[in-house]
Protein backbone atom coordinates (compact mmCIF):
# COMPACT_ATOMS: atom_id res chain seq x y z
CA UNK A 1 0.00 0.00 0.00
CA UNK A 2 2.79 2.38 0.90
CA UNK A 3 4.53 1.86 -2.46
CA UNK A 4 1.28 2.47 -4.33
CA UNK A 5 0.66 5.63 -2.33
CA UNK A 6 4.09 7.03 -3.07
CA UNK A 7 3.97 6.05 -6.72
CA UNK A 8 0.63 7.83 -7.25
CA UNK A 9 1.76 10.77 -5.11
CA UNK A 10 4.76 11.37 -7.35
CA UNK A 11 2.63 11.18 -10.49
CA UNK A 12 0.24 13.77 -9.03
CA UNK A 13 3.17 15.99 -7.99
CA UNK A 14 4.53 16.03 -11.56
CA UNK A 15 1.14 16.58 -13.21
CA UNK A 16 0.26 19.29 -10.67
CA UNK A 17 3.29 21.29 -11.70
CA UNK A 18 2.60 20.78 -15.44
CA UNK A 19 -1.03 21.90 -15.18
CA UNK A 20 -0.12 24.75 -12.79
CA UNK A 21 2.34 26.17 -15.32
CA UNK A 22 -0.29 25.81 -18.04
CA UNK A 23 -2.98 27.62 -16.00
CA UNK A 24 -0.74 30.39 -14.62
CA UNK A 25 1.41 30.80 -17.72
CA UNK A 26 4.56 30.12 -15.65
CA UNK A 27 5.62 29.87 -12.01
CA UNK A 28 5.88 26.56 -10.16
CA UNK A 29 4.06 24.35 -7.69
CA UNK A 30 4.76 21.38 -5.46
CA UNK A 31 3.23 19.01 -2.89
CA UNK A 32 5.36 17.65 -0.08
CA UNK A 33 4.75 14.76 2.35
CA UNK A 34 5.80 16.19 5.74
CA UNK A 35 6.37 12.83 7.48
CA UNK A 36 8.35 10.54 5.15
CA UNK A 37 8.16 7.63 7.61
CA UNK A 38 4.40 7.46 7.54
CA UNK A 39 3.23 8.96 4.23
CA UNK A 40 -0.35 7.66 4.28
CA UNK A 41 -1.24 9.54 7.50
CA UNK A 42 1.14 12.44 6.95
CA UNK A 43 0.15 16.05 6.46
CA UNK A 44 0.72 17.18 2.87
CA UNK A 45 1.76 20.80 2.27
CA UNK A 46 0.84 22.50 -0.98
CA UNK A 47 3.28 25.04 -2.43
CA UNK A 48 2.26 27.39 -5.23
CA UNK A 49 4.19 30.28 -6.72
CA UNK A 50 2.57 32.33 -9.50
CA UNK A 51 5.00 33.82 -12.05
CA UNK A 52 6.85 36.92 -10.78
CA UNK A 53 5.92 36.38 -7.12
CA UNK A 54 7.90 35.22 -4.09
CA UNK A 55 4.98 33.54 -2.27
CA UNK A 56 5.55 29.90 -1.37
CA UNK A 57 2.51 28.65 0.52
CA UNK A 58 -0.83 28.37 -1.27
CA UNK A 59 -2.63 30.04 1.66
CA UNK A 60 -0.91 33.39 0.95
CA UNK A 61 -2.44 33.63 -2.52
CA UNK A 62 -5.58 35.57 -3.45
CA UNK A 63 -9.01 33.94 -3.71
CA UNK A 64 -8.77 33.58 -7.49
CA UNK A 65 -5.18 32.36 -7.43
CA UNK A 66 -6.04 29.77 -4.77
CA UNK A 67 -9.00 28.55 -6.84
CA UNK A 68 -6.88 28.23 -9.97
CA UNK A 69 -4.07 26.42 -8.09
CA UNK A 70 -6.58 24.07 -6.45
CA UNK A 71 -8.12 23.34 -9.88
CA UNK A 72 -4.65 22.41 -11.15
CA UNK A 73 -4.20 20.01 -8.24
CA UNK A 74 -7.69 18.49 -8.61
CA UNK A 75 -7.10 17.99 -12.33
CA UNK A 76 -3.75 16.34 -11.55
CA UNK A 77 -5.47 13.95 -9.13
CA UNK A 78 -8.24 13.31 -11.62
CA UNK A 79 -5.79 12.48 -14.40
CA UNK A 80 -3.96 10.05 -12.08
CA UNK A 81 -7.12 8.21 -10.94
CA UNK A 82 -9.53 8.75 -13.82
CA UNK A 83 -13.25 8.26 -13.62
CA UNK A 84 -15.74 8.03 -16.49
CA UNK A 85 -17.33 11.34 -15.55
CA UNK A 86 -16.93 14.33 -13.25
CA UNK A 87 -18.99 17.33 -12.09
CA UNK A 88 -18.03 20.99 -11.84
CA UNK A 89 -20.35 23.11 -9.74
CA UNK A 90 -19.67 26.88 -10.08
CA UNK A 91 -15.93 26.35 -9.82
CA UNK A 92 -15.35 29.25 -12.24
CA UNK A 93 -17.10 31.86 -10.05
CA UNK A 94 -13.98 33.48 -8.42
CA UNK A 95 -11.94 33.54 -11.66
CA UNK A 96 -11.42 36.69 -13.73
CA UNK A 97 -11.98 36.59 -17.51
CA UNK A 98 -8.38 35.74 -18.42
CA UNK A 99 -8.23 32.85 -15.96
CA UNK A 100 -11.62 31.56 -17.14
CA UNK A 101 -10.19 31.33 -20.67
CA UNK A 102 -7.18 29.32 -19.48
CA UNK A 103 -9.45 27.08 -17.43
CA UNK A 104 -11.68 26.46 -20.46
CA UNK A 105 -8.68 25.51 -22.61
CA UNK A 106 -7.76 22.89 -20.03
CA UNK A 107 -11.36 21.71 -19.93
CA UNK A 108 -11.44 21.10 -23.66
CA UNK A 109 -8.45 18.78 -23.24
CA UNK A 110 -10.06 16.91 -20.35
CA UNK A 111 -13.43 16.40 -22.04
CA UNK A 112 -11.85 14.12 -24.63
CA UNK A 113 -10.95 11.72 -21.79
CA UNK A 114 -14.15 11.76 -19.74
CA UNK A 115 -17.63 13.26 -19.59
CA UNK A 116 -17.99 16.53 -17.72
CA UNK A 117 -21.24 17.91 -16.23
CA UNK A 118 -20.77 21.64 -15.70
CA UNK A 119 -22.98 23.91 -13.58
CA UNK A 120 -22.13 27.56 -14.20
CA UNK A 121 -23.44 31.14 -14.29
CA UNK A 122 -20.60 32.27 -16.57
CA UNK A 123 -21.55 32.92 -20.20
CA UNK A 124 -18.10 32.05 -21.56
CA UNK A 125 -18.20 28.67 -19.87
CA UNK A 126 -21.67 27.98 -21.26
CA UNK A 127 -20.45 28.71 -24.77
CA UNK A 128 -18.01 25.79 -24.78
CA UNK A 129 -20.65 23.28 -23.65
CA UNK A 130 -21.81 20.90 -26.36
CA UNK A 131 -25.29 20.82 -24.94
CA UNK A 132 -27.07 22.96 -22.38
CA UNK A 133 -30.01 22.20 -20.10
CA UNK A 134 -31.95 24.96 -18.48
CA UNK A 135 -33.34 24.20 -15.03
CA UNK A 136 -36.30 26.14 -13.68
CA UNK A 137 -38.38 26.02 -10.57
CA UNK A 138 -42.11 26.67 -10.46
CA UNK A 139 -43.96 26.45 -7.15
CA UNK A 140 -41.10 24.61 -5.49
CA UNK A 141 -40.80 21.94 -8.23
CA UNK A 142 -37.81 21.69 -10.57
CA UNK A 143 -38.18 21.18 -14.31
CA UNK A 144 -35.49 20.64 -16.96
CA UNK A 145 -35.67 21.82 -20.56
CA UNK A 146 -33.03 21.53 -23.21
CA UNK A 147 -31.86 24.76 -24.75
CA UNK A 148 -30.72 25.31 -28.26
CA UNK A 149 -27.36 27.04 -27.83
CA UNK A 150 -26.46 30.68 -28.46
CA UNK A 151 -29.95 32.08 -29.08
CA UNK A 152 -31.41 30.92 -25.82
CA UNK A 153 -28.36 31.31 -23.61
CA UNK A 154 -28.86 35.05 -23.49
CA UNK A 155 -32.27 34.64 -21.87
CA UNK A 156 -31.15 32.05 -19.34
CA UNK A 157 -28.26 33.66 -17.66
Amino acid sequence: AKEDFEKNFNIIKRKFNEIFVELFGGGKSNIVIEDEQNPIESKITIYAQPPGKRVKNITMLSTGEQTLAAIALLFAIYETKPSPFCFMDEIDAPLDDANVERFLTLLKRLKSKSQILMITHNRRTMEICEYIYGVTMEEGISKVISINLQKEVEEWV
Partner: protein
Protein backbone atom coordinates in the same frame (compact mmCIF):
# COMPACT_ATOMS: atom_id res chain seq x y z
CA UNK B 1 -18.02 3.48 -20.15
CA UNK B 2 -20.22 6.54 -20.64
CA UNK B 3 -23.25 8.08 -18.99
CA UNK B 4 -26.32 7.79 -21.24
CA UNK B 5 -29.12 9.38 -19.19
CA UNK B 6 -30.51 9.93 -15.75
CA UNK B 7 -34.13 9.66 -14.57
CA UNK B 8 -35.11 11.46 -11.37
CA UNK B 9 -38.49 11.24 -9.63
CA UNK B 10 -39.44 12.37 -6.14
CA UNK B 11 -35.79 13.16 -5.33
CA UNK B 12 -35.34 16.56 -3.63
CA UNK B 13 -37.01 19.29 -5.68
CA UNK B 14 -37.81 16.95 -8.62
CA UNK B 15 -41.41 16.09 -7.66
CA UNK B 16 -42.30 15.37 -11.29
CA UNK B 17 -40.38 12.61 -13.09
CA UNK B 18 -37.64 13.96 -15.33
CA UNK B 19 -35.37 12.18 -17.87
CA UNK B 20 -32.12 13.96 -18.85
CA UNK B 21 -30.07 12.48 -21.73
CA UNK B 22 -26.33 12.89 -20.98
CA UNK B 23 -24.83 11.55 -24.18
CA UNK B 24 -22.33 14.34 -24.87
CA UNK B 25 -18.84 15.00 -23.46
CA UNK B 26 -19.42 18.45 -21.96
CA UNK B 27 -22.92 19.23 -20.78
CA UNK B 28 -23.90 22.51 -19.15
CA UNK B 29 -26.65 23.17 -16.59
CA UNK B 30 -27.81 26.75 -16.18
CA UNK B 31 -30.62 28.44 -14.30
CA UNK B 32 -31.45 30.81 -11.45
CA UNK B 33 -30.37 30.32 -7.84
CA UNK B 34 -32.31 27.55 -6.07
CA UNK B 35 -33.83 26.01 -9.19
CA UNK B 36 -32.35 22.53 -8.68
CA UNK B 37 -29.02 22.34 -10.59
CA UNK B 38 -26.92 21.00 -7.69
CA UNK B 39 -29.74 18.59 -6.83
CA UNK B 40 -29.03 16.81 -10.15
CA UNK B 41 -25.44 16.25 -9.06
CA UNK B 42 -26.68 14.98 -5.68
CA UNK B 43 -29.02 12.57 -7.50
CA UNK B 44 -26.13 11.03 -9.47
CA UNK B 45 -23.97 10.64 -6.34
CA UNK B 46 -26.92 9.11 -4.47
CA UNK B 47 -27.86 6.52 -7.13
CA UNK B 48 -24.29 5.15 -7.30
CA UNK B 49 -24.47 4.43 -3.60
CA UNK B 50 -23.54 7.54 -1.57
CA UNK B 51 -24.27 6.65 2.09
CA UNK B 52 -23.36 9.88 3.88
CA UNK B 53 -26.24 12.45 3.98
CA UNK B 54 -23.71 15.24 4.42
CA UNK B 55 -22.07 14.46 1.02
CA UNK B 56 -25.43 15.18 -0.65
CA UNK B 57 -26.21 18.20 1.49
CA UNK B 58 -28.76 16.55 3.77
CA UNK B 59 -29.11 16.21 7.54
CA UNK B 60 -30.66 12.74 7.47
CA UNK B 61 -31.13 10.18 4.70
CA UNK B 62 -34.88 10.83 4.42
CA UNK B 63 -34.27 14.45 3.37
CA UNK B 64 -33.83 13.29 -0.23
CA UNK B 65 -37.55 12.63 -0.65
CA UNK B 66 -39.55 15.57 -2.02
CA UNK B 67 -40.99 17.17 1.13
CA UNK B 68 -43.66 19.30 -0.52
CA UNK B 69 -44.14 22.90 -1.55
CA UNK B 70 -46.95 25.42 -1.09
CA UNK B 71 -49.00 23.74 -3.83
CA UNK B 72 -47.86 20.15 -3.66
CA UNK B 73 -47.89 17.52 -0.93
CA UNK B 74 -44.79 15.61 0.09
CA UNK B 75 -44.07 12.39 -1.77
CA UNK B 76 -43.68 8.89 -0.40
CA UNK B 77 -40.62 7.83 -2.37
CA UNK B 78 -37.50 9.08 -4.12
CA UNK B 79 -36.21 7.19 -7.15
CA UNK B 80 -33.22 7.77 -9.42
CA UNK B 81 -32.06 5.62 -12.37
CA UNK B 82 -28.71 6.05 -14.12
CA UNK B 83 -28.17 4.43 -17.53
CA UNK B 84 -24.55 3.68 -18.50
CA UNK B 85 -23.02 2.21 -21.64
CA UNK B 86 -20.90 -0.86 -20.95
CA UNK B 87 -19.68 -2.01 -24.39
CA UNK B 88 -16.11 -2.01 -23.06
CA UNK B 89 -17.28 -4.30 -20.17
CA UNK B 90 -15.62 -2.15 -17.54
CA UNK B 91 -18.40 -3.33 -15.28
CA UNK B 92 -17.86 -7.12 -15.31
CA UNK B 93 -21.35 -8.00 -16.52
CA UNK B 94 -22.50 -9.28 -19.89
CA UNK B 95 -24.64 -6.30 -20.80
CA UNK B 96 -24.01 -3.49 -23.25
CA UNK B 97 -26.10 -1.16 -21.13
CA UNK B 98 -26.40 -1.03 -17.38
CA UNK B 99 -29.20 0.63 -15.44
CA UNK B 100 -28.62 1.35 -11.78
CA UNK B 101 -31.73 2.30 -9.78
CA UNK B 102 -32.03 3.41 -6.16
CA UNK B 103 -35.30 3.94 -4.25
CA UNK B 104 -36.00 5.25 -0.77
CA UNK B 105 -39.46 5.07 0.84
CA UNK B 106 -40.75 7.37 3.58
CA UNK B 107 -40.75 4.45 6.01
CA UNK B 108 -36.98 4.09 5.54
CA UNK B 109 -36.98 1.03 3.25
CA UNK B 110 -34.51 1.28 0.41
CA UNK B 111 -34.05 -0.75 -2.77
CA UNK B 112 -31.27 -1.08 -5.30
CA UNK B 113 -31.81 -2.50 -8.79
CA UNK B 114 -29.38 -3.47 -11.52
CA UNK B 115 -31.09 -3.68 -14.91
CA UNK B 116 -34.39 -3.80 -13.03
CA UNK B 117 -33.33 -6.79 -10.90
CA UNK B 118 -33.17 -6.24 -7.12
CA UNK B 119 -29.63 -6.39 -5.77
CA UNK B 120 -27.90 -5.33 -2.56
CA UNK B 121 -25.78 -2.20 -2.11
CA UNK B 122 -22.81 -4.55 -1.68
CA UNK B 123 -23.35 -5.81 -5.22
CA UNK B 124 -23.47 -2.29 -6.66
CA UNK B 125 -20.27 -1.36 -4.83
CA UNK B 126 -18.58 -4.58 -6.05
CA UNK B 127 -19.48 -3.99 -9.70
CA UNK B 128 -18.52 -0.31 -9.59
CA UNK B 129 -15.24 -0.70 -7.72
CA UNK B 130 -12.27 -0.10 -9.95
CA UNK B 131 -14.29 1.96 -12.43
CA UNK B 132 -13.62 5.16 -10.51
CA UNK B 133 -17.38 5.70 -10.35
CA UNK B 134 -17.82 5.00 -6.68
CA UNK B 135 -15.08 7.41 -5.63
CA UNK B 136 -17.05 10.53 -5.05
CA UNK B 137 -14.65 12.90 -3.40
CA UNK B 138 -12.37 13.86 -6.27
CA UNK B 139 -14.88 13.78 -9.12
CA UNK B 140 -16.80 16.78 -7.83
CA UNK B 141 -15.03 20.10 -8.33
CA UNK B 142 -16.80 22.79 -6.31
CA UNK B 143 -15.83 25.64 -3.97
CA UNK B 144 -16.41 23.62 -0.75
CA UNK B 145 -14.08 20.88 -2.05
CA UNK B 146 -11.42 23.51 -2.70
CA UNK B 147 -11.89 24.77 0.86
CA UNK B 148 -11.37 21.19 2.13
CA UNK B 149 -8.22 20.83 0.03
CA UNK B 150 -6.70 24.08 1.35
CA UNK B 151 -7.71 23.62 5.01
CA UNK B 152 -4.59 23.50 7.28
CA UNK B 153 -4.77 19.82 8.23
CA UNK B 154 -6.52 18.56 5.16
CA UNK B 155 -6.34 14.81 4.56
CA UNK B 156 -8.18 15.04 1.25
CA UNK B 157 -5.24 13.92 -0.88
CA UNK B 158 -4.44 11.10 1.54
CA UNK B 159 -8.05 9.87 1.46
CA UNK B 160 -8.11 9.83 -2.33
CA UNK B 161 -4.86 7.87 -2.57
Amino acid sequence: MKLLDIEISGFKSFANPVRIPIDKDLIGFVGPNGCGKSNIVDAIKWVIGEQSPKEIRCEKSGDVIFNGSTLRAAQGMAEVTLRLSNEDKIIPLNYNEIEITRRLYKNGDSEYLLNRTPVRLKDINRFLSGTGLGESSYTLFKPSVIDDLLRPNSMLINDIL
